[in-house]
């Protein structure tokens, strides 16, 4: 690969090197969480975690495991920095969308450490572009304290059916209400808009429902504006898990297959707008 023309000395100075033959395997998943300009990067031996937050109520994380990368070298336990996600995405797609099958942008992402910019080497069709993006001190991501022991209700659905519901949601509704219950209506999405209300019910025995574990009836409302960005992740995914905990916090986990069929995850955490314990 042309990018390997760098000298050994250059490579030695980096504390993080991540390479992909197809940059889309990174850019596509980052687009699913790109609702704000800034993203917090946290790299460990396991891989890359990218976090985007909104008004302390919503957090989105994208996980790209180490084995997704063709080359993944990390010289410290954790490497963290913050960059402008919009700029990063613009660079990753700098060669534009390629319509010729088989032609894609190769990426080598390098980081020298604290205070240094994030360096991207991008190559397509023999043309190499080098981008250096300024980094900032990484903020500490909010800990939503969402642990599996506190989960009251959980369902796993095939994304196709949810995609349809989300595309039809009444956007004049300020909230999206989610009801999960061991009995009817099982799993319900509700909106309250200008012309009336709407309910989308998924029965527990639907063939789109892969897992249904609801212990008690719970109804929570979330601001529609906060959840709207999650539709990008939904569009990319093939399965989604919806979990609520005893406080009504929502966890949405999306299983995404990249161009090469490898699995990555995107998750969204959202605070409830107002808690309605039981209906």
């Amino acid at each position: 690969m042309p990018l390997s023309t760098q000298s050994q000395a250059d490579i030695d100075q980096y504390i993080l090197i991540a390479s992909l033959d197809n940059a889309r395997n990174l850019s596509n998943i980052l687009k699913a969480i790109s609702f704000r300009d800034h993203a917090i990067f946290n790299a460990t031996q396991n891989g890359l975690k990218v976090t985007v937050e909104d008004s302390k109520c919503l957090q989105a994380n994208a996980f790209i495991q180490a084995d997704i990368f063709q080359e993944y070298i990390i010289k410290e336990d954790t490497v963290g920095f913050q960059v402008n996600l919009t700029v990063l995405l613009d660079c990753l797609t700098i060669f534009g969308g390629s319509t010729v099958p088989g032609v894609c942008t190769a990426l080598r992402m390098c980081y020298n450490g604290y205070g240094y910019p994030l360096t991207l080497f991008l190559e397509e069709g023999g043309v190499v572009t080098v981008c250096k993006i300024n980094t900032q001190e990484p903020e500490e991501p909010i800990d939503f304290d969402f642990c599996s022991t506190n989960v009251t209700n959980k369902v796993i659905l095939q994304s196709d059916s949810l995609k349809e519901a989300f595309s039809e949601l009444d956007m004049t509704s300020e909230v999206l209400q989610i009801t999960m219950s061991p009995s009817h209506p099982y799993f319900r999405l509700s909106t309250f808009g200008n012309s009336g209300n709407a309910h989308y019910d998924y029965p527990k025995d639907s063939d789109m429902m892969e897992l249904f574990q609801c212990t008690k009836i719970q109804t929570s409302r979330y601001k529609m504006s906060l959840l709207k960005p999650s539709t990008k992740a939904l569009a990319l995914s093939c399965k989604v898990s919806v979990r609520t905990d005893s406080r009504g916090f929502l966890s949405l986990q999306y299983l995404v297959r990249n161009d090469d069929g490898q699995i990555c995850f995107v998750e969204y955490y959202c605070c409830p707008d107002e808690e309605v314990e039981e209906e």
Partner: protein
Amino acid sequence: MQTLFRNNIVDKQNIMDCVATGGNVKVLAKAIHSLSRIGEELYMEPMEDGLALRSVNSSRSAFACFLLSPLFFQRYQAPSDQSFRCKMPIKSVQAVFKSLTSLDRSVEKCRIQLNSEKSRLTITLHCKHGLLKTHNLSYQDCEGLQAVFDKESCANVLQAQPRLMVDTVLHFPPSLEEVNLSVSSDRVWLRNHVEDDTDSSRAMMTELCLSSEEFDHFAVGSQTSITFCLKELRGLLAFAESSGLPISMYFDEPGSPVILSVTDSVLEANFVLATLSEDSHPKNHVNTKRPDTEQPPDDFMSDDMDSFLIAMETSELPGPSHVPTSPPRPTSNRKHSFSEEEALAEGPPNKKFCSLFFGSVLPTPSQLPNQTMQSQEVLASDSEDENQTETS
């Protein structure tokens, strides 16, 4: 017996309960879609002989009605003892039937229930994979909406396959408002209508000539030329094309409405459009050739309402006698302003069209004065006065 008893009580609260299945769900959605090309509101009236869905434009120069017979539905329950009419913003109903193209693949059953106790119209879509979509829409009670027309008495009748009409209309730009249709004993001409005062050197004229042989039925009483608004017709054309049903056209002399109709064994759609009267003076004129025009009391009369008289002569629809349209009940402000914008957008051309009708009943003399005047917003000029603009 216990269960039976309970069901009966539930049924009484439901003014209407009907279920459409399979391909008819898409037909229903398309009917609503074509009504949305006419007006902002959907008027619904469940009757014993079927469900009537109607719409009218803000200047009252275009009206459409779909009558779905009980056989259209897998199950049809309508009030037998009471008349019930309601209306709602048509966009809310359209939102229920999104993704029109995949409707027949995803929706198995559509249930429409009107519950007067909760003042809700509930549309439930039973979809694939057990997914249930329930929409509870609020509605307003309203007076009946019915244009008066008599297809049988029209001197000229044409019937054609939808393909012919759609292909013909293709030649005219989508923005074209008015089109002129002229018939002779063996030909039909379609031309774009150009204002008299338009500079003829700058206007593009399009003319299409069709032979009577292209029509399934061609009965022309005498040479006639009528001008009407094409835009409002496109909804019907789209519906007819998708259903494959022939379109019938009924018309008389200029000034009398033209009726386009699509019928099959379980549904009947009528689109009634006003035509330009021969006197092209900007103000509306009643067609004075009708000798037996009924004269309502003087307070009622104004230039705009003259053509109302045409409708009144043949109408005496049953129902309580109160004013044809009442001021709208408080609804969201957005709905109100939307109709004002709609009326403003109609623009000058509508000034020349006679209003078709309206009012389902003759107003009693005592109720005439203020309310009736308020409810008339026929002309575009009136629509500029916000106070008088109305949605119903």
